[in-house]
Amino acid sequence: MVKKNNNKRRDFLQLSTLTLGGVGTAAFIWPFLKSMSPAEDTLAAGSTEVDISAIEEGQSITIKWRGKPVFIKKRTKDEIDAAKMVQASDLRDPQDDADRVQKEEWLVLVGVCTHLGCVPLGQKVSDMKGEYDGWYCPCHGSHYDTSGRIRKGPAPKNLDIPPYSFLNDSTIKIG
């Protein structure tokens, strides 16, 4: 009887030691793992203000925001119409054009392909714009339309819209 109790006591001590040791190890490892996440200064790399008064209709500029390219495009009437005509339900990542813009002539996009992170072509006049006349990713052949929505190719999602606001008619604040 005494022996049995002793064993139970041993089991308990063993189990609690292991548990505490495990918790201690995890607590020790956590700071190391967490140190690999983006640092505070990286997170704080805030916002950018862009002067858009010089952009002509049909023109597009690329600016750098948090290390990523952001496309700001002043769309033509045709391009807006083409984007609006599409039925959202037919798309891989269904979204209406109206949900992707604040003012319909201004399209603001994160210029990073949602497949594997390349920068799509289409910003320069001479660039390939793909079958939907928006952007075309040269890496693995994703086609985006004039609203930056994925239409063809391996990318799973539409081009991201960064948080932005119009400070006045000629300035956009991104971030």
Partner: protein, 430 residues
């Protein structure tokens, strides 16, 4: 400790002094002196030694490069150019290191081909094979990390594409990617940690190579006929026979790598990597290093992001279970009339995958990649188990000596009974 421990005695008192305290002398004598090598091993069996030498060369040249390299996004590219132009013999260090990586993969691919063709992965060397695949995986990770360091266009966009693979994982993907990068895109934090890991992983590889070698020495090396050593007549001592043979192979290898280092140092590199990294412009055509191209081809052959990533990693993971997919007891493909051709087909297919992996994923190339993908997995999942089941292997020789008495000296000695010819006995009983 055991007072009755038997201590090896050598003629040299210094060796005896060491041996008494740390039995390392007898260990080396046993593993690299008297270690029996099957006497029918051909030059394919030198590639393990070549790989080890190359690993050491990579570590040494890498340490000296690190003395002049700066892992910062603003300075990395220029520090590499400084190594090329201003550091004494810096160009040589860098060309040894960059071409050494390519040659390391050439050697290891041949080493893997040898293990597959002659069935070295089978009982009792399965764990050895698993350790080998693990080394291969570590090598791919290390080379990818190293390729990022010069911070050229291919470095930057290669790193971007590969780290984005992780974002394909549902739910945790994006978070995992950000954690790996230390930023929302490839940046200074990424470059710093890639450098740290690129420095340490080769030493991990070195450790696993130690286990890999120790494991093969337990049951001894396989051989072209895939049969075990049965008597002393079947083997030769590692020293001096295999050492000399490996040295000859090493000389040939030295000539080959020198020819590339001195006369075509950029043959296997991408010209775009001499353009500094630009996060706003993607090169028109992102090309992986040639040695990763077969897996890149598999990634691109699948029109679905997650599916492509899974199959690419699956293509490596399936290697781990090869010893259990192959049901045939016969090791060497020399005695497997059907499987031999499927195996050759596998090698050709892998090469074709690598070729299209370097080209744009469209039209005929994409079709080839898809057919190649089917054969790659079909070979492992269907052909290998099935052929092992239906195939009738040819008759195995009774012993390794028997191979010689039949093929080389059929008139001398009783080959049928596995008795070596007098000539061979004289040769091997040294």
């Amino acid at each position: 400790m055991d007072k009755n421990r038997k201590v090896h005695q050598f003629n040299n008192p210094v060796l005896n002094w060491i041996e008494f305290r740390l039995p390392i002398i007898s260990y080396f004598k046993k593993e690299y002196g008297d270690y029996p090598m099957p006497k029918n091993c051909n030059y394919f069996w030198s590639f393990g030694a070549l790989a080890t030498i190359t690993l050491v060369t990579m570590i040494v040249s890498g340490i000296f490069l690190a003395m002049n390299y700066t892992p910062h996004t603003d300075m990395a590219f220029n520090s590499v150019e400084r190594i090329m132009r201003d550091v004494n013999y810096g160009w040589l260090m860098r060309y040894i290191h960059s071409n050494g990586a390519s040659f390391f993969f050439i050697i290891v691919y041949i080493h893997i081909v040898r293990a597959m063709y002659f069935g070295s992965y089978k009982y009792p060397r399965e764990l050895n094979w698993i350790l080998g695949v693990f080394i291969f995986l570590l090598m791919m990770a290390t080379s990818f990390l190293g390729y990022t360091l010069p911070w050229g266009q291919m470095s930057y966009w290669g790193a971007t594409v590969i780290t984005n693979l992780f974002s394909a994982i549902p739910i945790i993907g994006e978070g995992l990617k950000t954690w790996l990068l230390g930023d929302y895109n490839v940046g200074n934090a990424t470059l710093n940690r890639f450098f740290a890991l690129h420095y340490v992983l080769p030493f991990v590889i070195f450790g696993v190579v130690g286990l890999h070698v120790a494991a093969v020495h337990v049951h001894g090396s396989n051989n072209p006929d895939g049969i075990d050593i049965k008597s002393k007549n079947d083997s030769v001592n590692f020293f001096p026979y295999m050492l000399i043979k490996d040295t000859v192979a090493m000389c040939a290898f030295g000539v080959a790598i020198s020819a590339v280092i001195f006369f075509g140092p950029n043959l296997m590199s991408e010209v775009d990597n001499y353009i500094p990294a630009d996060p706003l412009v993607t090169p028109a055509h992102i090309v992986p290093n040639w040695y990763l191209a077969p897996f890149y081809a598999i990634l691109r052959a699948v029109p679905d992001k997650l599916g492509g990533v899974l199959l690419m990693f699956g293509a490596i993971a399936i290697l781990f279970v090869l010893p259990w997919l192959d049901r045939s007891k016969v090791r060497s493909c020399n005695y497997r009339p059907m499987y031999k051709w499927f195996m050759m087909g596998f090698f050709v297919n892998f090469f074709a995958l690598g070729y299209v992996g370097m080209l744009p994923a469209e039209g005929l190339y994409l079709l080839i990649a898809r057919v190649g993908l089917l054969y790659y997995f079909g070979f492992f999942v269907i052909i290998t188990p099935f052929v092992g089941w239906i195939e009738k292997p040819s008759k195995l020789p009774l012993s390794i000596s028997d191979v010689y008495s039949k093929n080389i000296a059929p008139n001398i000695g009783g080959g049928e009974k596995g008795v070596p010819s007098p000539a061979m006995q004289k040769d091997t009983n040294l």
